[in-house]
Each structure stands twice: as structure tokens, then as C-alpha cells.
């Protein structure tokens, strides 16, 4: 392979040849640096693209309305209006914003907790037992992964209207508990995480199936449940279409629906003072907790996302 050394400038130069080790090593280092530089440039541009709107949101949240239209877009204002904006945010329009934060937290926490419980039980049951009807349950779960769920929003509205669930917390939470991906995920996860021998040992000791689940399987399933909880929490916190359709009372809105309602009045004349600082600071507050927690949660979330996709490689 000494010929490789003569192909100067090509990728082959990374290989050090016996004839001129010093020169080739230098050339290899230079080629490596060039590639690092080219790749890093692209990666940094992509990172700037991601960070610019978030940075802008932080800067803009410190400005009052006149400052928003007069100061430089990406620089902080000469005097920070955070305090003033914060006070406005929680008092304007009857102080709805406080409700919205609380509602988002309630919807996300309750949904994530119950959806995790329901999906874990079902996925575990499918993975660890064979019973009559198992194929049918499985077919329903996999089949519903293929249905674009936005198609169900209109009939869901009508159905909830008929059974008086509309415009209630339960009305938003209950449909979100049907989480076919969660079942599918926990089915695969249980199959891997809980060894059958361990279950058999517990059974020989005379434990009932639910006791086996609680004492033996649950600890092994915990990492999967954490992932599922986070996915469901973020999905619910970020959800817009479903609560938009199912809720009518402003005090029951989550943040996404409330803030969008404010934003829709920004450009309509006659809607009163446009709430620019409120919408901007409100948006920041709605994403801040998750952004701060993200470095710690990233690996759990990523594991859930990739679970289905990765298995074929």
C-alpha cells in the first residue's frame, strides 16, 4: 500500500507510508484538520440556526412594546423590562396566565402518570403472557400506530359532547391515555428487561401474578417507564390541536392554546392593546423549564424515540 502515499491531497494521505513518514504525517494532520474545520463549520451553522430564535426570545422578553420596535433585534435593551413584563403577564386579561401554567402542569402530569401506568401494564401483559385474545389486542395496538390521529379529533369532539365530557379536564386527559406507541414500546422493553426465569422463581415462591409484577418486574421496567413518562409529558405539554378543539373556557386552557389566543389578537385592529411583551415572555416561560431540564433528560427521551427505528440495523 505504499502507492497510497503518492495520492497527495486525497483521503488516502491519512495513511502513513514508510518512504516519507514525516511529510506524510504532516499532510495527514493537515487533511484531518481541514475535514474537522469543514465539518465543524457546518455543525456550528446548524447550531446557530437552532439557537438564534431561543436567544432572540430571551432578549425580546426583556423589552417592553416600544423597545421591541425600536431597539436592535438581537441586543438587550438599555433598561431591562423583565419585572414590568412579568407583572403584566400575570395580571393582564384577568390573570389568565397563572391558570394556563397550572393547567398545562395538571394535564401533563396526570396524563403522563396514568398513560405510563396503563401502557406499562398492557405492554407487560402482552410480552409476558399468552392468553386468548392476545393477537387481537396486538393487532389493535399496531394497527392504530398507522392511523393519523388528527383524523379522530372531530368525531371525538362530537362524542365527548354527547357524553358531557367536553370542556373538562377529564375530557382532555382521557383520550391522551390511549397511547399505542407506549404499549408497543413497553411490550418490546418488557420482553428484554424482565427475564422469564426470575418470574418463574417468584411464582414457585407462591406469589400471585400481580405481586410478581409489582415486586419483581416493576424495578426492571423502571427505566422504560421513565422514558415513557417523559415522552408523554412533553407530548401533552406541547399538544395544541386536541385541547383547542375540546376546551371552550379560557380558565381551562393549557399554555399553548392560551398564548395562541393572545397572539391571534396581535394583528387584529380593535382588539385593544396588542400583548407583545406578554406573548413573548409567556412563550419563554412555557419552554424554559423543559430547556433547563433537557440536558439531564436527553438520554432517556432519545432512547424512547429511537426504540422503534433502531431495531432493524
Amino acid at each position: 500500500m505504499t502507492a497510497a502515499g503518492s495520492v497527495a491531497g486525497s483521503a488516502q494521505t491519512r495513511r502513513v507510508t514508510a518512504s516519507a513518514p514525516g511529510r506524510d504525517a504532516r499532510r495527514a494532520r493537515a487533511a484531518r484538520r481541514a475535514k474537522t474545520a469543514a465539518g465543524t463549520t457546518l455543525a456550528v451553522i446548524a447550531a446557530v440556526y437552532v439557537l438564534v430564535p431561543i436567544y432572540w426570545l430571551v432578549m425580546a422578553s426583556a423589552k417592553n412594546t416600544p423597545q421591541l420596535f425600536s431597539t436592535s433585534t438581537f441586543l438587550p435593551p438599555s433598561h431591562l423590562s423583565w419585572g414590568e413584563n412579568f407583572r403584566l403577564l400575570f395580571t393582564v386579561d384577568g390573570g389568565y396566565f397563572g391558570f394556563w401554567i397550572l393547567n398545562s402542569a395538571i394535564y401533563a402530569l396526570v396524563t403522563a402518570t396514568l398513560a405510563t401506568a396503563v401502557s406499562t401494564l398492557c405492554g407487560y401483559g402482552l410480552a409476558k403472557y399468552s392468553f386468548r385474545g392476545r393477537r387481537i389486542v396486538f393487532a389493535f395496538v399496531v394497527g392504530s400506530l398507522l392511523v393519523p390521529t388528527t383524523a379522530l379529533v372531530v368525531p371525538l369532539f362530537l362524542l365527548e359532547h354527547d357524553i358531557h365530557l367536553i370542556n373538562s379536564y377529564q375530557g382532555v386527559i382521557l383520550p391522551l391515555l390511549v397511547y399505542p406507541f407506549g404499549v408497543y414500546f413497553m411490550w418490546l422493553f418488557s420482553a428484554d428487561a424482565v427475564p422469564g426465569a426470575l418470574l418463574d422463581a417468584a411464582r414457585i415462591d407462591g406469589a400471585g401474578e400481580f405481586k410478581v409484577f409489582w415486586k419483581v418486574s416493576r424495578p426492571s421496567l423502571m427505566p422504560g417507564m421513565v422514558t415513557l413518562f417523559l415522552l408523554s409529558f412533553i407530548g401533552t405539554w406541547n399538544n395544541y390541536f386536541l385541547p383547542l378543539v375540546l376546551l371552550g373556557t379560557t380558565t381551562k386552557f393549557p399554555l399553548t392554546v392560551g398564548l395562541t389566543a393572545w397572539a391571534s389578537e396581535l394583528n387584529s385592529p380593535g382588539a385593544g392593546q396588542p400583548l407583545y411583551p406578554e406573548v413573548i415572555l409567556g412563550s419563554l416561560i412555557s419552554v424554559l423549564p423543559m430547556l433547563i431540564l433537557f440536558p439531564f433528560l436527553q438520554k432517556y427521551i432519545a432512547r424512547g424515540l429511537t426504540f422503534g427505528a433502531i431495531v432493524g440495523e
Binding site: M1, A11, R14, G39, T40, L42, A43, V50, L51, P53, W56, C122, G125, K128, Y129, S130, F131, R134, F140, L145, P148, T149, T150, L152, V153, V154, P155, L156, L158, L159, P175, L176, V178, Y179, P180, V183, Y184, L188, G196, E209, I234, N239, F241, L242, T260, A263, S264, V279, S283, M290, F294, P295, Q298, I301, L305, T306, A309, V311, G312, E313
Partner: protein
């Protein structure tokens, strides 16, 4: 019941994964993903069997009430008259199919997807391959930054960008004008440009998500395969192109299918942008369905439109899957390499 871009709707999983999973485990055969052999091994039937059934019950009850019932209801609804409620056969479907606005929205989304999905997937693949290469420094920091938009609700992302793309609020948009390159401040939210502004926003939201999936997929490429590539003298670039890329082609197909589905279901971004850019409320098919049902109160027509959109989505996904399966042989070859 997640919204359009809710990623956990891992739709193509059903098509892609069960077989692959079986291959990975090597215990179940592809033909019986829901078969009788429970992976953990347990007493078939009997007391244990009843416990298994009981465990699936809470999910199945909720599923019947909040998934199956609305699904069946929407079919029944779509066959009824908007005025009298009487059975009218395919009347609503004929109405929906004859609606030019609906089709122009579908075609708009197809055009949107053809550009946006392609750009996003290529960008995600390039970034993932770079982050997976030895040339990348600070790999963890980049991976975290790219993944951040996943934590931002779609409507908030759209709002943020809508502010940032307004000439009134963003000085940067005035720069070409000040340099004499444009007759006025750039307005990316004007009617002709707003579709491209939306591409910028959706790409911002989902590139990192897709890259995260690809990156995890890449780390599972067997190291021996990469080592043998290096011993043969292949450069990192050709290892990426000839070894890594083929190994993750299933994942690429998977994220592309999710993206196609998401594009056809687009709702949040056009709704929010419409408040600021005023491009009308018939911009995307889901917007039309929403307005048919809730502004015009024609739930029967909306149900028919929903079903047609779902069918279009299924057909688009199936066509894409067929093409890539024939072109890239996704069916079986890679599976063999997985343990």
C-alpha cells in the same frame, strides 16, 4: 390523539419494526409477531393467562372508548346528511372530492413536503454522520443543541419565528434594503414567501429530532464492520458513504415516512402564521377540516374530509415505502446483519 407532529406517533413502526425486532431477538419468527410464544416464557393460558388479559384491560377499555368509538363514529358520520342526518351514501365524499380548495391544500402540502422533508432529512443525515465521525469535537454539546427544539411546542416555535421574520421586529431583514439590494425590507411572511418561511420553521423543529434517531442508529453499527473498513484503507468519508449510510437506510426510510405523515397533517404552524401573515384559513388540509367542522358546523363533511386525508396519507406512505423497498432493498438484506 396526539397532534400532527407529535413524534410518538411512530406510525411506520408497525410496518418496519415487528419483523426487524423478531430478527434481532432471533427467537420469534417474522410471521408471528403477536404469536403464541411469549418472549419471557410463561405458563400458556391458565391462571397466568387471565392475569395477562386483566393487565391489558385498562388500555383496551380506554382504547374502545376514545379511539375505536370515534373512529367508527367518524365513518358513520361521514355517510350522513349535514342537513337532515339521514343516510346519504357517499354524498359527503363527493362533496369533499369536488372541493378545489381541499385539493389545492393537499397539493400545497405535497410541494411543501417534497422540498422541506428532503432538505431536512439530508441535513439530519449529514449532521449525524459528522457527529459520528472522529472529526467531530464536542459531539455531546452539538447533539444536545440540535435536540433542544423537541422541547418547544410547535405553536410556540411558530410564534417565535413569526416574530423573528417580521420586518417591524427584525432589523436584520432591513439590511438588504439599506445596502441597496432590495426595494424595501424583506418580508418572509408575505403571501409568496410564507410557505418557505414555514419550511424554515418546520425544519428548525424536526431536524434535530431526526438527527437524534439517526445518531443512535449509527452508534449501533457494529464496530468490527467499521474496523474492517479502516484496515482496507477506506477514508472516513467513504466509510460514511459506503458502510454507515447503507446500515442506517431503514432508519432513514422510517424518519422520512414519519415526516411525510406529519407534513400532510400540518396544522399548528399554518394556524399560528395565519394570525400574523394572513394567508387564509384554507392553507393546509387539517385547517380546512377544522373550519368545516367548527366554523361552518358541517361535521359530516369534515368527517369525510378527515377520512380522505387519512387515506391519502396511507397511500402516500405505502407508495414511498414500495419505492424505497424496491430501490434500496429494505426488505431483508440488512436484517441479517443484526446479530
Amino acid at each position: 390523539m396526539r397532534t400532527s407532529w407529535q413524534p410518538a406517533v411512530a406510525t411506520p413502526d408497525g410496518a418496519l419494526a415487528p419483523g426487524a425486532t423478531a430478527a434481532k431477538r432471533g427467537r420469534r419468527r417474522k410471521s408471528e409477531p403477536g404469536g403464541r410464544t411469549a418472549p419471557g416464557g410463561t405458563a400458556a393460558g391458565g391462571l397466568g393467562g387471565r392475569a395477562g388479559l386483566t393487565m391489558t384491560l385498562p388500555f383496551m377499555i380506554l382504547y374502545a372508548l376514545f379511539f375505536l368509538a370515534p373512529f367508527l363514529y367518524s365513518i358513520v358520520l361521514s355517510l350522513r346528511s349535514p342537513q337532515t342526518g339521514a343516510f346519504v351514501g357517499l354524498f359527503n365524499y363527493r362533496n369533499a372530492v369536488g372541493n378545489g380548495l381541499f385539493w389545492s391544500a393537499v397539493i400545497r402540502m405535497a410541494y411543501f413536503g417534497a422540498i422541506q422533508v428532503t432538505v431536512m432529512i439530508v441535513l439530519a443525515v449529514v449532521l449525524a454522520l459528522f457527529l459520528d465521525s472522529p472529526y467531530c469535537l464536542r459531539r455531546k454539546a452539538f447533539a444536545l443543541i440540535y435536540f433542544l427544539p423537541y422541547a418547544v411546542p410547535g405553536v410556540i416555535a411558530a410564534m417565535m419565528w413569526a416574530f423573528l421574520l417580521q420586518p417591524d421586529l427584525d432589523n436584520a431583514l432591513k439590511v438588504p434594503h439599506l445596502l441597496g439590494l432590495a426595494s424595501g425590507p424583506l418580508n418572509p411572511l408575505s403571501y409568496g414567501f410564507v410557505l418557505y418561511a414555514m419550511m424554515l420553521i418546520v425544519t428548525w423543529e424536526w431536524t434535530g429530532y431526526n438527527m437524534t434517531i439517526l445518531l443512535t442508529s449509527l452508534t449501533s453499527v457494529p464496530r468490527e464492520v467499521l474496523e474492517s473498513g479502516k484496515i482496507d484503507g477506506a477514508s472516513e468519508l467513504s466509510i460514511a458513504w459506503r458502510i454507515k449510510l447503507p446500515m442506517i437506510r431503514r432508519t432513514i426510510a422510517f424518519i422520512t415516512i414519519i415526516s411525510i405523515i406529519g407534513t400532510l397533517q400540518l396544522f399548528n404552524e399554518p394556524v399560528v402564521l395565519n394570525d400574523i401573515a394572513s394567508m387564509g384559513s384554507s392553507y393546509s388540509p387539517n385547517q380546512i377540516i377544522y373550519n368545516t367542522a367548527f366554523s361552518f358546523g358541517n361535521e359530516q363533511l369534515a368527517a369525510a374530509q378527515s377520512i380522505i386525508l387519512a387515506l391519502i396519507t396511507v397511500v402516500a406512505t405505502a407508495v414511498f415505502y414500495r419505492i424505497v423497498r424496491q430501490r434500496f432493498g429494505l426488505a431483508g438484506t440488512v436484517r441479517g446483519a443484526a446479530r
